[in-house]
Amino acid sequence: MSAPVWLILGASSAIARAVARAAAADGADVLLAGRDTADLEASAADLRTRFGRRAAALDFDALDSTGHAAMLQRARDFAGEATLNLFLAFGTMPSQAEIDADPALIDGVIAANYTGAVNVLHRAAPMFEAQKAGALVVLTSVAGDRGRLKNYVYGSTKGALGAYLQGLRARLFRSGVPVVTVKPGPVDTAMSYGLNDMPLMAQPETVAAACLKAAKKGTEIVYVPFPWWPIMTIIKLIPERIFKKLNI
């Protein structure tokens, strides 16, 4: 049987790189999709050299949905008879203060985190229904669990994506394909580097291991690291009347 293939969307991010390495170490071939193909070629070379797996870069722009179908077809061709899996890592997070200062940023955040994600996932869904195997793993965020004063534009896009994934999960369940929603807290990546007040910071390798484990088990929703599950459960329970006064 041929090795499984992971298609990684937004593959230049630190979490995506860690997922690619963990998957290749586990015996998978890897496709790295994103805009910075020069950088992705370097990562693909790293995977080939370190792990001796097949790895290649794919040009992909989440904001340009007209290219999504062709990109997915190239991934299908690369995988051939092998099982294709999908990891969606792209997203953007300007701080709430930057957005307040320049509301023109809002379109870009929604376009990448929500519209772009839904566009590519919806075009991938028939492929997974036909395949009746593999898994989809999508990064959202604990910020999507509740709109907070400090991060609600970003949080609302991740919350909306979470709702979309609930529907997609029901649809693909009928074909035996799990859809995993991963909700990391702050992760030590370029996105969070140099920002203040980051509790329970996780390393990208920790998130990657949790993602691949959840894909194998078909877990619906994963909080990484685990303590975010009780924390967010409590935060979700706080009445809005009180929550609006909190500075979190």
């Binding site: 370097a42 070379a45 790293d46 050299t49 370190r50 370029a190 580097y193 140099g194």
Partner: protein, 446 residues
């Protein structure tokens, strides 16, 4: 736009605390952006931060952390040449290439060190007599220069800039990729022979016997021993063993807290040194060990630098040419034993030849390395050791150093004028800077 994070940095010896703004690029173009963003302030690349003193520090200015630029870009099994980004560590190299029968050509005492750092310090290992230092195996590197351009430097394309960058402590620019030759016929296991050595003369005789015939050799010296026991210790030699099964990675242990400064005293160190020596039977012994345990004995204990407490420690490493080694080592060891400053195991090795860099540390001779906890006259002792090193025609290793004087530095590194000429050519505005460079008066530092 580059995000700079206020960061407190120290060397591995933790004897000096600096405040810097640090960037941590994850892609090559972010490295360009970070350096372009430092027009009015100096900048320095930092790898794993395993230099002991101030070589990877740039107090009050900028530091670019290379740890996330860690991709292995290619490997050719026919030539053994690998191309790596600067943040690739020796642990990565061992994990990737040892199962294929290749090893790094020279390896420092920790696998956490990066190949960028290995170029900057022209690191050597326990196989220097046989294989030379890291720089001896470098084919080319891509160097990000002060003017923002990147050039591929080979010994043919720009011999002086090549020689200034090998061992150049990061002062010529930032290595963004390096091609170097790995060595074949390596296996994950070695046969280690250990024997007790009675004194310094015994050491020099033993090294003379083994240095040109064995692959790996290193000596451990009890630096508190005096009189007729001066220089007593254990000599380890090792050869590859044909077993190719990869050993299970060891479980790392941590030092959870800084030990109080009184934990290391003459008595506790003397007891430790004695136990360490006696674990080898008088008749010597031979056993199989994993290759990584031979190269990196201290890596099993993460954060071992905390043993020295909050004050930190100095490391001293010098090399003396063979012709003065006997008298010079005797003088160094007598001085150290006489002050009774508690030094853990000292390391004695032989080096085979001069390196390719203007500031390369190695020369044919004997090298001695020791740690000293700060305080209690340690500064004074290190100044005396510098004077002795100079008197016997030796030099001090910049990657370990914290206290070397400007005059001592100039006397120890005869190629310094050539190094400075290159700096004047490629970085006239002194954009790449470190605390070490300031202390030693490089780049016009006042």
């Amino acid at each position: 736009m580059t995000r700079w994070k206020p960061t407190t940095l120290t060397g591995w010896g933790r004897n000096r605390i600096t405040r810097t703004a640090a960037a941590r690029p994850e892609r090559p173009r972010e490295l360009d952006a970070a350096v372009a963003d430092t027009r009015d302030v100096t900048v320095l690349a930092r790898g794993a931060g395993r230099a002991y003193g101030d070589a990877a520090l740039n107090d009050g200015a900028r530091v670019v952390l290379t740890e996330r630029l860690d991709r292995i870009l290619s490997f050719d099994a026919a030539s053994g040449v690998a191309v790596c980004e600067p943040g690739v560590t020796f642990a990565d190299l061992l994990e990737t290439f040892l199962p294929r029968g290749f090893m790094p050509p020279a390896s420092p005492g920790t696998a956490f060190a990066t190949v960028g750092g290995a170029v900057a310090a022209d690191v050597h290992g326990k196989n220097h007599d046989r294989h030379g230092s890291f720089g001896d195996h470098v084919e080319w590197f891509d160097l990000l220069l002060a003017d923002g351009s990147t050039r591929r430097i080979t010994p043919e394309s720009d011999a002086e800039l090549f020689a200034a960058t090998i061992g150049g402590m990061g002062l010529t620019g930032i290595v963004r990729a390096v091609a170097f030759r790995l060595l074949p016929r390596a296996t994950p296991w070695v046969t280690v022979r250990e024997k007790r050595i009675a004194d310094l003369d015994g050491y020099l005789e033993s090294f003379a016997q083994v240095r040109d015939s064995v692959t790996f050799s290193v000596g451990w010296i009890d630096a508190l021993a005096r009189g007729s026991s001066l220089g007593q210790g254990i000599l380890e030699t090792a050869e590859f063993h044909e077993d190719r099964a990869m050993p299970a990675p060891p479980r790392p242990r941590r030092v959870p807290v800084d030990l109080p400064s009184f934990a290391l005293n003459r008595l506790s160190v003397r007891a430790f040194n004695e136990l360490y020596r006696r674990r080898v039977p008088t008749a010597g012994r031979e056993r199989q060990r994993s290759f990584s345990k031979l190269l990196y004995p201290l890596d099993a204990l993460h954060d071992w630098n905390r043993i020295y407490g909050r004050r930190g420690f100095y490391q001293f490493q010098c090399v003396l040419p063979d012709r003065t080694a006997r008298a010079g080592l005797r003088s160094l060891l007598e001085t150290i034993a006489g002050t009774g400053n508690p030094s853990f195991l000292a390391v004695l090795k032989t080096l085979g030849r001069t390196g390719r860099g203007h500031l390369s540390f190695p020369m044919r001779g004997h090298t001695l390395a020791l740690d000293f906890p700060c305080g209690g006259g340690a500064d004074e002792l290190l100044h005396r050791l510098e004077a002795i090193t100079l008197e016997y025609g030796g030099r001090i290793y910049l990657a370990k150093d914290s206290l070397l004087s400007r005059a001592g530095f100039r006397a120890m590194y005869p190629e310094l004028p050539r190094f400075e000429a290159v700096l004047q050519r490629v970085d006239p505005g002194a954009r790449f800077m470190s605390d070490l460079a300031r202390r030693l008066g490089l780049k016009g530092a006042a």
